[in-house]
């Protein structure tokens, strides 16, 4: 039998203890939520049967926790504990204190609820976003501060110190990188990390001097002295050459600025020979052809020039040379191609000037031979050079043996050589339609030593010097598509294509079905040094 004095302690509003004593006895004393328990604790945190107070065989008292129940004795978790005076046992939310014995009861227990249930059983958590304590302002101004630091303050620093500018240009990511609106074009990419190369003054536009500092050989469209140059007043290089638009985007392919002036050039520059141009297809004057002249060059409308014909001083039949059956040569009949004589320069624009040696004699054709009294070859050169060559040839031949000199009779060796040279030149070389005369116009002169004159050959190298035409870009076409000379019997025939021929493939400023858009700069250069008529 265990006799127990239970002192149940509660607290008043001032937190002062209020004690209520009760005496419990029994063989064992059960502690739990169940109604049968002698120490009945009305708390759902307590099991129905939470623990039992028992007496040991030696007579001592101890408390034994039930299954799945743990007790805390003096702060340590245990399953059972001796009930000695001073022992503090936590039973769920209750504290059970063993008081010193009064000699009347076997056990005096002081019981107090030390962990009462909260007013609301559930834990309160935030029920709105505002209770999370987040600050929109802090978030926003934080981001703003980061952006201003990274993208405004840092990019400004290089402008404050050239040393800093130099240092930062070597960084993998430069301070000003975020300000660049796009990749720089071509070679400009070399100094992409150093903005101050071009942007030399803050809040000032890039000046032309910055451009011409490197691009020293760029010519102006008009000389400053030209009255029409006022049209370019206020314009800067960067108006046309807008950088930061990609690697290949610096050159402006836009005709609108050209048309601003050339669309009405007749009014803007009275007296000009230029025609008004607005579009290659719809508003472009017929081609002009430029031919060499004593004074330099002369431009003619293409139709007029066609009537005039080319005065090259050369007699040449394309028809014979381009005969499909072939032209006779020492190697037999040879079918010739345009490229046999017209060889493209490396630039792809013009052709290598033709020479007698490379274009006319390369297959043994047009050998300038003479045969009387011995066979020899005359060089291709001036009349005097030919005659000197013949004299030297015969002089050498005459001095070679007495037999050779037999025909000289009373003439000196020199006179004899001159005579042989003159006779052969007249008989075999300087003939009207053979040998030299086959290609050249020959007239007689009163000169005793060189009594013939060959008309100088002037083959026009560039019919349209104001335009840029790249033959290499048109190599998908046959030469004769544009220059049909297969039926040309005389060299005076001009076979330059008309503007209509170009328009078969080239549209104007805007693309058209089956034709390629072609602005002004497709054929013309802005920065040119040619004199403006």
């Amino acid at each position: 039998m265990i006799s127990c004095l239970l002192i149940q302690v509660t607290r008043n509003s001032q937190n002062l203890p209020i004690c209520k004593d009760s005496v419990i006895s029994g063989e064992t004393i059960q502690i739990g939520r169940g109604a049968a328990c002698k120490i009945h604790l009305q708390d759902h945190r307590i099991s129905l049967l939470h623990a039992t107070i028992l007496r040991t065989e030696e007579g001592g008292l101890y408390i034994d926790g039930e299954n799945n129940v743990t007790l805390k004795v003096d702060g340590f978790i245990t399953l059972s504990a001796d009930l000695l005076p001073g022992t503090q046992i936590e039973v769920g939310p209750y504290a059970l204190q063993v008081e010193p014995s009064d000699g009347v009861h076997d056990l005096i227990l002081r019981l107090e609820l030390v962990h009462p249930l909260p007013a609301a059983l559930a834990v309160r958590v935030p029920v709105s976003l505002s209770e999370l304590g987040w600050s929109k302002r802090r978030f926003g101004f934080g981001m703003a501060a980061i952006i201003l630091f990274l993208f405004m303050l840092l990019p400004l620093l290089p402008a404050a110190s050239s040393a800093l500018d130099k240092w930062q240009s070597g960084l993998p990511v430069t301070l000003t990188e975020a300000w660049s609106p796009g990749p720089l074009a071509g070679g400009h990419a070399l100094f992409a990390t150093k903005c101050s190369t071009c942007h030399q003054r803050a809040f000032k536009a890039v000046t032309d001097e910055v451009c011409t500092g490197c691009h020293t050989r760029v010519s102006r469209h008009l000389n400053k002295a030209d009255s029409a140059a006022a049209a370019f007043a206020g314009m800067r290089c960067t108006h046309c050459h807008i950088d930061h638009k990609g690697r290949e985007q610096l050159v402006l392919h836009d005709s609108s600025k050209c048309v601003d002036c050339h669309g009405n050039i007749k009014d803007k520059k009275p007296g000009t020979a230029l025609g008004n141009v607005r579009d290659f297809v719809s508003a472009h004057p017929p081609f002009h052809l430029t031919v060499p002249d004593i004074a330099g060059s002369i431009r003619y409308l293409q139709d007029d020039q066609a009537k005039r014909g080319e005065k090259s001083g050369l007699k040449y039949s394309h028809q014979i040379h381009l005969d499909k059956e072939g032209v006779s040569s020492p190697q037999g009949d040879t079918v010739m191609q345009c490229q046999d004589c017209h060889k493209l320069e490396e630039s792809g624009k013009h052709f290598v000037p033709m020479t007698m040696e490379t274009s006319c004699q390369q297959s043994g054709c047009h050998a300038l031979d003479f045969t009387d009294p011995v066979t020899g070859l005359a060089p291709h050169g001036s009349e005097r050079a030919v005659m000197n060559s013949l004299r030297a040839f015969y002089g050498k031949w005459l001095s070679a043996s007495a037999d050779n000199r037999a025909s000289c009779k009373s003439l000196s060796l020199q006179d004899c050589a001159n005579e042989l040279a003159r006779r052969n030149a007249a008989a075999t070389l300087f003939r009207k339609d053979l040998e030299c005369g086959e290609c050249h116009e020959i007239t007689a002169t009163s000169d005793q030593e060189v009594p013939w004159r060959v008309t100088p050959v002037r083959i026009n190298r560039d019919w349209q010097p104001g335009a840029t035409f790249v033959h290499a870009k048109h190599d998908t076409m046959k030469c004769t598509d544009c220059h049909d000379k297969t039926g040309s019997k005389v060299s005076a025939d001009v076979a330059m294509p008309t503007i209509g021929k170009c328009r078969e493939c080239h549209a104007g400023n805007h693309p058209a079905q089956g034709r390629v858009a072609s602005g002004c700069d497709s054929c013309h250069q802005f920065h040119r040094s040619a004199a403006i008529p």
Binding site: R33, A35, Q42, D43, H44, R45, S47, L48, N68, A119, A120, L121, A122, V123, V125, P126, V127, S128, L129, S130, E131, L132, W134, K136, R137, F139, G140, F141, M143, A144, A145, I147, L148, F151, M152, L156, A159, T176, E177, A178, W179, S180, P181, G182, C195, H199, A202, F203, K204, A205, V206, H239, C240, I242, K245, Q249, L252, D254, S256, K257
Partner: protein, 318 residues
């Protein structure tokens, strides 16, 4: 509300701002199409690009002013008070009075709620048109730089605004449908009362039942962190778990009195579960109603910083 308020927002003064914005967009598009920039390169540096940029910047300042002015009128930077059930049915003037109770209104250019409503209508429509203007301003040239950062921030601000407009027009009705005459505090009070009843009712039942009830009382969360509020649910909700498993424990009771107690307890937990779900739904709807502002407003501020950097960069390296 809010259908009425939503309608007012969108068709304010016979769609005045829709017409204004549509006209701006139409003119901008037509001019952009007709515009023939040098080299066919449309970008912010052409005369049209500058015009569009300046116009877009002015519109941005106008829209930012709405946020500042709204704060000065209502004392709140968002629409939560409008959608608060307590504020339902009141007009903005009443809410303004409530929020400014005890201090005089600081009116910075807006004359009351009518003006506020007008600015909000303009804010929405001009914000939409801003996307078009800014896109044309870029000439569709974007890159990894501060200029595109400003553009992207602008798009994000407008997109979050789109979301806000969408919830503003729809969620208040859903909140009303869910809550009826109750407020969230009412529900939380009722839930607390049910917790107490259930805990007391469970005292005479088995430990297993008490474990379920204790978990339901102490571990059920209404609200919580950001994601919990947005989801409106709790993983392994103890209350739902308790209601599912409570009746399974009924087999151990043979006395009719205990069975009746268990049924009562089940009834209490069922009621609690429904209240918890309604409360969570309310929190979820309000969280979804407000969450966009945690992007819209801060990104708007960040946008102004990026815009400032964009403008300085353009003119500094002219």
């Amino acid at each position: 509300m809010n259908n009425m308020q939503g309608a007012t927002l969108l068709n304010y003064k016979n769609y005045r701002y829709l017409k204004v914005s549509a006209a701006i967009v139409l003119v901008a598009l037509v001019v952009y199409v007709l515009h023939d920039p040098v080299g066919d390169r449309a970008f912010g540096g052409t005369w049209l690009g500058y015009t569009l940029g300046v116009l877009a910047t002015l519109m941005l300042f106008g829209m930012m002013w709405y946020g500042v002015a709204k704060r000065s009128i209502t004392g709140t930077p968002d629409w939560s008070m409008i959608t608060d059930r307590e504020g339902e049915g009141r007009d903005l003037a009443e809410m303004k009075a409530r929020h400014l109770r005890g201090k005089p209104p600081v009116n910075k250019g807006l004359r009351g709620s009518g003006m506020l409503q007008e600015w909000l209508s303009g804010h929405v429509y001009l914000g939409i048109s801003l996307v078009v203007l800014a896109t044309l301003h870029t000439g569709f040239h974007l890159g990894w730089n501060v200029h595109t950062l400003a553009y992207v921030l602008m798009v994000l601000v407008v997109l979050s605004g789109f979301y806000g407009l969408s919830v503003y027009l729809n969620y208040p009705r859903l909140i009303t449908l869910n809550m009826g005459e109750d407020t969230l505090d009412d529900l939380l009070l009722k839930i607390a009362e049910l917790d107490e009843l259930a805990a007391a009712r469970a005292l005479d039942l088995s430990d297993e039942v008490n474990v379920l009830v204790r978990a339901s009382c102490q571990e059920t969360r209404v609200g919580g962190d950001f994601l919990q509020q947005l989801s409106g649910s709790q993983r392994n909700c103890p209350t739902a778990f308790a209601t599912r498993h409570l009746l399974e424990l009924g087999g151990q009771y043979v006395r009719e009195e205990q069975r009746k107690m268990l049924r009562d307890l089940y009834s209490l937990l069922m009621r609690k579960e429904k209240l918890v779900q309604r409360a969570r739904t309310d929190i979820m709807l309000k969280a979804r109603l407000e969450c966009w502002l945690y992007l819209h407003a801060p990104l708007g501020i960040a946008l102004f910083a990026a815009l400032a950097a964009h403008i300085v960069a353009i003119y500094f390296y002219w």
